[in-house]
């Protein structure tokens, strides 16, 4: 019998023995794509059916609902995962209700498991490997690019013709066409590199690169939503232009925009920089709940920050863990906390705002301040958020909208505060509070309030030192005859030390409007010695008046005070009204390379630009590369996650990233110079034929050839025609726009043509209205700036042709240019045409082309044929394309 069982054993052995081959399977390259494509939709961050998820290694090898682990390292046949993808019964086969995986896919997974199911971290989350070896004799970029070209069996192109190259360079660095004299200068020994330097120093450099950044900052001159009213935030745009022109290192560029207000002694510029995140939309529609849209704004700030600096798509994580990338829903709210503690609250007035005054007025104010100071026996308290010391010197008068922090109240332009808010439902259970933490309490004997009230149901409660501190006063506002009154509060002389006044408006009856009050201004009274002598009073009023008349308000970011700090809770299923557990501050573990997590917004910003952060430098370098070559090394510049494209030149990307963040100390100009000095950049953009296999020029076997951006097209036409008014900065302008474009409801806003030369500014300065963008911006693929856009998709449509042919603005330029041509031609039509061609395309026309134009002019019906010719020139492929 023994023999028998031996025999059986042998037979079974033969039955179950399986073959496996040895070549290694890469998780990132081979396995992850299959999982992302087929499994993660149901076994990922959104759903984990059967308690099984493939998002994190931990989950993938954890015990699931079946009571077992689905993947058994080294044994595919025992692994439920494998059994289920090869299962005969469609009811049980994975992926469910979908065609079964292909033989190869199954093969890959089987091998992977049999080889021990090794998990790998996504490439983008790994730190670049340093040092990177590059042969000395070659430009690093060319070295990496040409290595790839060899692999692809492609050859680099010859250097582009000088004029072509100069035009490319000029458009890339400054967004404007090149100057004729450069050619001569270069004959006189000006080197390409010198030229690059001079272009980098040109003020137009900042304007060009700002237009890239403003897409990311979703910059707009309106607030968005229904009425889509005006927003005064152009100073931020100018800040960006300046920052690029001063070559502000990208790390401080980052920190200032995300947390400029938290630096010690922030300058006005640092504060303006924080407007980056005040570009979120504000909903001014009646009946909306401000909190709802404040939350929406904060979420947008979070998403934008992660897309801009981390190339990570966070939006989906609001509601559930990331479907494809190792980011848990908790991570979203961990980071949400960094942005949640800011004062702004979707108020129409957009407080907190930074008031800025024209220089001449500033002098006047300084004068007054001096006089007031001279009259003051005691130095008034300093106000943290007041770069101009105005609040200090109108003290002891308080303008409510200067409050350091507030809750639920809203403000009016005259500085008054009220507990009146639109969404009546959302009033219940809310406290209407505002605070002045800097106010000294000792010797305080009274407060006088100018107010408006419709009934006797509004009370004021004043506490000292802290939000829940001692009650100094609780009193009802009486209902005044004409609705306006003065409410006088007297304290027994304060023996309180320290500082801080905390106001709460209480609607005692809950009735509306009886319980509503508007407090215009408050005047504090102290026992002598008072803060100012009687004489100063009317100077102070002058100061207040000056301030109101000339203050130009830019919305900025300001941190909330501890007193009114917001709880940071997870939104269940992303619903801002369904609050879940409170979540500690944090960033996704997958990205964080440090032990500690940032503990506030400032540290978060610093964490982003810390050299340990694997993403920021890669993502940023990729953005600049994309601007120059029309296509990022990572095509999906918005998504470096596992669903994004892997880099076409991984080593090159890492090299540039390291170079940028360390050697160049985040200097954008150095980076750009490095790129444009490469042979790769200087190649001719002609298709040679062997590169037909690469129509998108992914492997860079030729120079970049792309249709110009919306901005470049307008700027070039204006520049060439000589109409361009190239002055830096200032409020947005309104060039010609056809009738009937603006059609926002409940809005009287009109498009009014800007005065004089301001109608001919660079496109960067064109007024940007979210719900009705400037037609030629949209037609040429500019986004409408509701949300952050990393990548414009270049199109080529008949509408673009129509715009270029017929837009009166462009045609006017053609007329203007036509006249110049006429002058230059001195009666010789051909010469005029030749001149025009050179001006427009920055290259010599060949006879045939001139002949074509000549025929056109000679058979023209119109009396100024040169305008026609100009119109033609402005529509040429060579004119509209960077080549």
């Amino acid at each position: 019998m023994g023999r028998i069982f031996w025999g059986i054993g042998l037979l079974f052995g033969a039955l179950f023995s399986c073959t496996s081959s040895n070549d290694r399977i890469s998780f990132n390259e081979d396995v992850r794509p299959i999982l992302n494509q087929n499994c993660l939709p149901c076994h990922g961050g959104v759903k984990a059916n059967g308690g099984f998820s493939l998002l994190f290694e931990a989950d993938a090898f954890a015990v699931n609902n079946s009571g077992q682990t689905a993947i058994i390292r080294g044994n595919a046949r025992k692994s439920e995962l494998y059994k289920r993808i090869i299962h005969q019964n469609p009811e049980l086969r994975m992926p469910l209700d979908a065609p079964p995986l292909s033989e190869d896919e199954i093969g890959v997974l089987k091998k992977w498991i049999n080889q021990g199911a090794q998990w790998e971290e996504h490439w983008a989350y790994q730190k670049p490997v340093t040092p990177i070896h590059i042969p000395k004799d070659q430009h690093p970029i060319d070295y990496f690019v040409q290595r790839k070209l060899k692999e692809q069996g492609l050859t680099p192109s010859a250097k582009a013709a000088l004029p072509t190259l100069l035009r490319r360079l000029s458009l890339d660095l400054t967004g404007l066409p090149p100057q004729k004299e450069w050619l001569n200068q270069m004959q006189e020994g000006l080197s390409y590199e010198d030229l690059v330097d001079s272009l980098l120093d040109a003020p137009s450099f900042g304007e060009k690169w700002a237009s890239m950044w403003l897409d990311l900052a979703r910059y707009s001159d309106t607030k968005g939503y229904e009425k889509d009213p005006h927003r005064n935030i152009w100073r931020y745009r100018d800040w960006v232009v300046k920052a690029f022109n001063q070559d502000m290192p990208l790390d401080s560029f980052t920190i200032r925009q995300l947390a400029g207000d938290m630096l010690d002694l922030p300058t006005t510029n640092d504060l303006i920089a924080t407007a980056f995140h005040r570009n979120t939309m504000t909903n001014t529609e009646g009946g909306t709940d401000d909190e709802e849209f404040r939350v929406a704004a904060v979420i947008d700030r979070l998403n934008t920050t992660y897309e801009v600096w981390q190339g990570t798509t966070m939006s989906c994580v609001q509601c559930h863990s990331h479907p494809y990338d190792p980011i848990r829903q908790e991570d979203f709210y961990g980071s949400y906390g960094y942005f949640n503690q800011t004062v702004d609250a979707d108020l129409d007035l957009e407080v907190p705002v930074l008031e800025i005054y024209p220089p001449e007025k500033m002098e006047e104010m300084e004068e007054l301040i001096k006089e007031i100071a001279s009259l003051s026996p005691r130095t008034p308290p300093e106000f943290a958020n007041d770069p101009y010391r105005l609040k200090q010197f109108i003290f002891p008068i308080l303008m409510p909208y200067d409050a350091a922090d507030f809750e639920n109240v809203s403000f009016y332009g005259d500085g008054s505060v009220t507990n009146w808010i639109y969404n009546l439902q959302s009033m219940t259970g809310k406290r209407f509070r505002f605070s002045f933490p800097e106010i000294p309490l000792s010797g305080l004997i009274g407060i006088k309030m100018e107010y408006e009230s419709k009934g006797g149901d509004a009370a004021i409660e004043i506490r000292g030192k802290e939000a829940e501190g001692v009650v100094l006063n609780h009193s009802l506002f009486s209902a005044p005859e004409n609705g306006r009154g003065v409410h006088e509060i007297k304290f027994s002389p304060q023996d309180l030390e320290g500082s801080g006044l905390f106001f709460e408006i209480i609607n005692t009856s809950g009735k509306i409007p009886e319980g509503m009050v508007i407090i215009r201004r408050m005047e504090l009274a102290y026992e002598s010695p008072s803060f100012f002598a009687e004489g100063a009073k009317e100077k102070i009023n002058q100061l207040i008046a000056l301030r109101r008349q000339n203050g130009d308000r830019t919305p900025v970011i300001r941190s909330k005070s501890k007193d009114y700090e917001r709880a940071n809770r997870l939104f269940v299923r992303g619903n801002w009204m369904a609050l879940g557990d409170s979540i500690p501050l944090g960033v996704p573990a997958a990205i964080n390379q440090q032990e500690e997590y940032p503990t506030n917004r400032l540290e978060f910003a610093q964490w982003l630009v810390h050299t340990d952060n694997p993403l920021t430098s890669r993502v940023m370098v990729n953005r600049f590369w994309q601007e120059i070559f029309g296509r990022g090394l990572v095509l999906t510049s918005e998504d470096f996650g596992t669903m994004g494209e892997p880099p076409s030149h991984p080593e090159l990307l890492d090299y540039l990233a390291v170079q940028f963040s360390t050697t160049y100390q985040w200097s954008v100009k150095k980076l750009l110079k490095h790129i444009v000095l490469s042979q790769t950049y200087q190649q001719s953009s002609k298709m040679k034929g062997d590169d037909l296999v690469d129509p998108d020029n992914q492997w860079l076997s030729r120079g970049p050839r792309w249709r110009l951006s919306a901005e470049q097209i307008r700027d070039q036409i204006l520049a060439v025609s000589g109409l361009l008014y190239d002055t830096l900065g200032g409020p947005s302008v309104m060039p010609y726009q056809p009738e009937g474009i603006w059609q926002s409801v409940y809005s009287g806003a009109q498009w009014t043509l800007s005065e004089g030369r301001h109608a001919y500014r660079r496109a960067l300065y064109t007024y940007q209205k979210r719900t009705a963008p400037y037609p030629n911006m949209i037609t040429f693929d500019a986004p409408s700036r509701e949300f952050c856009v990393s990548r414009r998709i270049t199109t080529n449509t008949p509408l673009q042709a129509l715009a270029l042919l017929n837009d009166p603005a462009f045609y006017e330029a053609a007329e203007h240019f036509g006249n110049t041509m006429k002058k230059k031609g001195k009666g010789d039509l051909k010469a005029a045409l030749r001149y025009g061609y050179q001006q427009a395309l920055f290259q010599e026309p060949d006879e045939e082309e001139i002949q074509i134009l000549l025929d056109l002019c000679q058979n023209a019906e119109s009396e100024d044929p040169l305008t026609l010719a100009a119109n033609v020139l402005f529509n040429l492929d060579g004119f509209l394309t960077k080549e």
Binding site: N575, M687, D846, L856, A860, N875
Partner: protein, 476 residues
């Protein structure tokens, strides 16, 4: 270089070099060759098509199925009662929170036509067309916010950057006329849909497949008029010159975009000629204007419906109408079931019925698919934003069940397909997902939705993403 680009290449070279220049010589008016919008290319359906065109009537903001087609007597009884928690569990809403109340139908229903389809009295004209349309009453989608839902509806994916249905169709079938875009978009209601122009964008498909927005007020197409009274012939000469020089440019750079541009300029000129003619509804007889309720010169849905017919007659392949203002939350009177919604119904009822009738009498309905619907449905509960009832009567967004209707082009008329539960909360029989609807539309156009693909970023993409089944049951 993939097949499509190759096709583009050849076609461009063909049409530009020979045809266009020749045509220019013989005058653009008599130009009988195809534009570069796909007219000349050998794009053929996979199998014999039932339809050649599509007219999409999109009610942006998502109209309530419970007030129009999905009649729920039980909901009437439950009106005002608290919503049983079981219905709320695991559900996601845009705004509802806490325990909302059930909201009965805000209209009276009756059966219409031989098919006995339920239609409410808010659509008196449309109810006469009951036997010509097929109702899909158990539609469902994945997205419960407007922009993503609209993107899913038209591009098959809630994220930006995918081609829209119209682009897929023109890419798959080419255009049928030489001087109008094959994919036209008409917007009424004062606003473009939430998802913006991406619902008619071409995504990663070549930009020539993009939808062109025409305005029924002012210049039909922006900048279609020549500046300073330049004559058509003058314009023709300039375009000739431009394209001749660009042609030389192509010779040196071999950049396909240059060829596309040449085509676009030619196209632009033809549009200047033919768009105004096609868009001029003044030419229509009075009885047509009465039928549609049109007032020339206004940007109204009625005008757009009439335009849709004129464009269909001129063999525009894909016509997409958006009518804004259906988001009846009840947060404001404009967006409430007791005001704005009624207004919208009045605006669309007569025109859309007229469109059907008109297409039918001209024999156009036979090979034109008409689709009406919104990006999702509305809840059987009264919306209670922030847990408190809204100032006006309204319903929240609802992904699990909504109604659309289709007509003509091989779709079975007089059929109500699919059922929802007793309160119209979710589909219980013959559910149709947005991807299924897309697959079905492509099917009737003779396209297999799994074979109509475009290779991009290392993957073959298609309109129906990775899902979609043809709803055979509704095919005539």
């Amino acid at each position: 270089m993939n097949l499509l680009d190759e096709a583009l290449f050849e076609r461009h070279q063909l049409s530009t070099r020979r045809h266009f220049l020749k045509a220019c010589a013989t005058g653009l008016g008599s130009m009988a060759m195809g534009s570069l919008l796909g007219a000349t290319d050998p794009q053929t359906p996979h199998f014999i098509p039932k339809a050649k065109r599509v007219i999409f009537l999109h009610m942006a903001g998502a109209p309530s199925q419970l007030e129009l087609f999905d009649y729920k007597p039980l909901l009437k009884e439950l009106n005002g009662k608290d919503c049983p928690p079981s219905l709320l569990e695991g559900k996601r809403f845009a705004f509802i929170s806490g325990v909302p109340q059930m909201l009965g139908p805000q209209a009276n229903f009756a059966r219409h036509g031989q098919s006995g389809a339920w239609i409410s009295d808010l659509l008196p004209h449309f109810s006469k067309m009951a036997d010509d349309v097929c109702f899909l009453k158990a539609m469902h989608t994945d997205e419960f916010n407007h922009a993503p839902a609209q993107l899913l509806f038209y591009s098959g994916s809630p994220r930006l950057g995918r081609p829209s249905m119209g682009s897929w169709v023109t890419y798959g079938l080419g255009s049928m006329n030489e001087n109008l875009p094959s994919f036209v978009v008409l917007v009424s209601g004062g606003k473009t849909p939430s998802a913006g122009k991406s619902v008619w964008g071409s995504g990663f498909l070549p930009s020539i497949y993009q939808g062109v927005q025409c305005r029924s007020k002012g210049e039909p197409v922006l900048f279609a008029a020549n500046p300073n009274g330049m004559s058509a012939s003058e314009r023709k000469k300039t375009i000739e010159a431009i394209n001749q020089i660009n042609e030389k440019k192509y010779q040196t750079f071999k950049d396909p975009e240059t060829l596309t541009r040449i085509g676009q300029y030619e196209m632009a000129f033809k549009m200047q000629m033919s768009v105004p003619e096609a868009m001029d509804i003044q030419q229509e007889p009075d009885y047509i204007h009465e039928m549609y309720g049109t007032e020339p010169g206004r940007a109204s849905f009625a005008n757009n419906c009439l335009l849709a017919r004129r464009l269909a007659e001129r063999d525009v392949r894909f016509i997409q109408l958006f009518h804004w203002g259906w988001d009846s939350h009840g947060a404001s009177s404009g967006e409430s079931l007791d005001n704005g919604f009624l207004q919208r119904c009045k605006e669309v009822d007569q025109p859309m019925s007229a469109l059907l009738k008109d297409l039918k009498q001209r024999g156009l309905l036979d090979d034109t698919i008409v689709v009406w619907g919104g990006e999702f449905g509305r809840t059987p509960m009264l919306e209670n934003r922030n847990g408190v009832a809204n100032p006006f009567v309204g319903r929240d967004h609802q992904t699990d069940a909504f109604t659309i209707w289709m007509a003509g082009g091989g779709i079975k008329g007089g059929l109500s397909y699919g059922e929802t539960d007793e309160i119209g909360y979710s589909g219980i029989k013959n559910r149709v997902h947005v991807h299924d609807m897309q697959a079905t539309i492509l099917h009737n156009l003779g396209l297999h939705h799994e074979e109509l693909t475009y290779h991009f970023q290392g993957r073959d993409f298609r309109l129906t993403d990775t899902a979609g089944n043809v709803v055979k049951e509704i095919l005539a």
